[in-house]
């Protein structure tokens, strides 16, 4: 039992526990991403020639821009939304240090709106992906030679239409891994939004003023930034590489 008379890490008990939870959650996400990496590397002929579906050929839609080839654009908008909501979260934490209740509530509401927007984007992306035939048990997103020819000539913003002869069966776990990893991340975003709503209501009702500190906003903030951190790697490994 520690009896040194001072906090060894100079953090509160709750914040230390949040950090340790986030470490364990980092391992959870790592196990999912490592599984994805191993599956992907088991479909590689040399480091680059691969029959793994090219994300640019699948996630190339943008709302209200039907039939245009716009890879990476929508997911970049999602990334921007999440970074922005991270900033408003950290501004809420900073306002909490100054015990400014009004600012905390305002920035927390911005953060919640950002989280809800991100979830909406993800729902749209899943809807399009499932609409194109993605299932947990198979993968029709392999590209045939004819598809590769057409697809390779496409520029950013060009009009394009998938024909059945462009696609073939690809590595089975592709869509399943996409659903599991982005779904698990989306569930984290969802629970983060719920936590943020709860602490915002507590802040608005003056609970933290009576308590004398806004430590709870910091703990919710740690969780929210962790969700952003995970997205950085999901973005890198699922969309960029």
């Amino acid at each position: 039992m520690w009896a040194g008379g001072r906090s060894p890490f100079n953090v509160s008990y709750g914040k230390l526990m949040m950090w340790l939870f986030l470490l364990s959650d980092a391992f959870t996400f790592s196990s999912l991403l490592v599984q994805y990496g191993a599956q992907r590397f088991s479909n590689v002929q040399s480091p680059i020639v691969t029959n793994w579906p090219d994300p640019a050929s699948i996630f190339n839609h943008f709302p209200f821009m039907h039939g245009l080839h716009l890879p990476l654009l929508f997911v970049s908008v999602m990334t921007f939304i999440l970074i922005m909501s991270s900033v408003t979260m950290v501004l809420a934490v900073e306002a909490g240090h100054r015990k400014s209740k009004k600012e905390v509530v305002r920035y927390m509401i911005y953060t919640i709106i950002g989280g809800a927007m991100f979830l909406g984007c993800q729902a749209w992306e899943w809807t399009v992906f499932i609409g194109e035939g993605a299932t947990l048990y198979g993968n029709q997103f392999g590209i045939t030679e004819a598809g590769q020819k057409v697809f390779g000539a496409l520029g950013f913003g060009d009009h394009f239409e998938w024909q059945p002869e462009y696609r073939t069966a690809g590595p089975v776990p592709f869509a399943a891994l996409f659903f599991i990893v982005t779904g698990f991340h989306g569930f984290h975003v969802f629970s983060g939004v719920v936590i943020n709503v709860v602490v915002t209501i507590m802040a608005a009702r003056g609970v933290f003023d009576r308590r004398g500190h806004y430590e709870m906003i910091e703990k919710a903030g740690l969780y929210w930034h962790f969700v952003d951190l995970v997205w950085v790697f999901v973005f890198t490994f699922f969309y960029l590489i």
Partner: protein
């Protein structure tokens, strides 16, 4: 347990360190860095051909973004070094796991 729960003495469960604001300047700077790297990601994706070097750049940028999120947003730069090591050192094992399983995955290509 009575040795640290006496009134006025250190209380491990209810201890809250005094909060201090570092201002918003660094936070906004971090935001612009993160946004800039994301825009760079976007540009490199279309400008460079798909090579192992491009993948390396993307992973490197991901680690840089992670550094800024954990350091500035999660306030790790201002925590005691003890806490930072307790949280960051175990993540080294993740790198080992990634290396090992990518190698094993690659070997599966020829086993299938």
């Amino acid at each position: 347990m009575e040795f640290y729960t006496k009134p006025g003495e250190y209380d491990a469960i209810n201890y809250i360190p005094p909060a201090e604001s570092h201002g918003t300047k660094e936070l906004w700077r971090t935001f612009w860095i993160l946004l800039g790297i994301t825009v760079l990601d976007f540009i490199i994706y279309f400008v460079m051909p798909h090579t192992g070097f491009r993948n390396f750049i993307f992973i490197f940028f991901g680690i840089v973004k992670a550094y800024y999120i954990v350091g500035a947003f999660m306030h790790m730069k201002y925590e005691k070094i003890n806490l930072a090591l307790v949280i960051l050192v175990p993540t080294i094992f993740i790198i080992g796991l990634v290396m090992g399983l990518l190698y094993e995955g690659n070997a599966l290509t020829y086993a299938k």
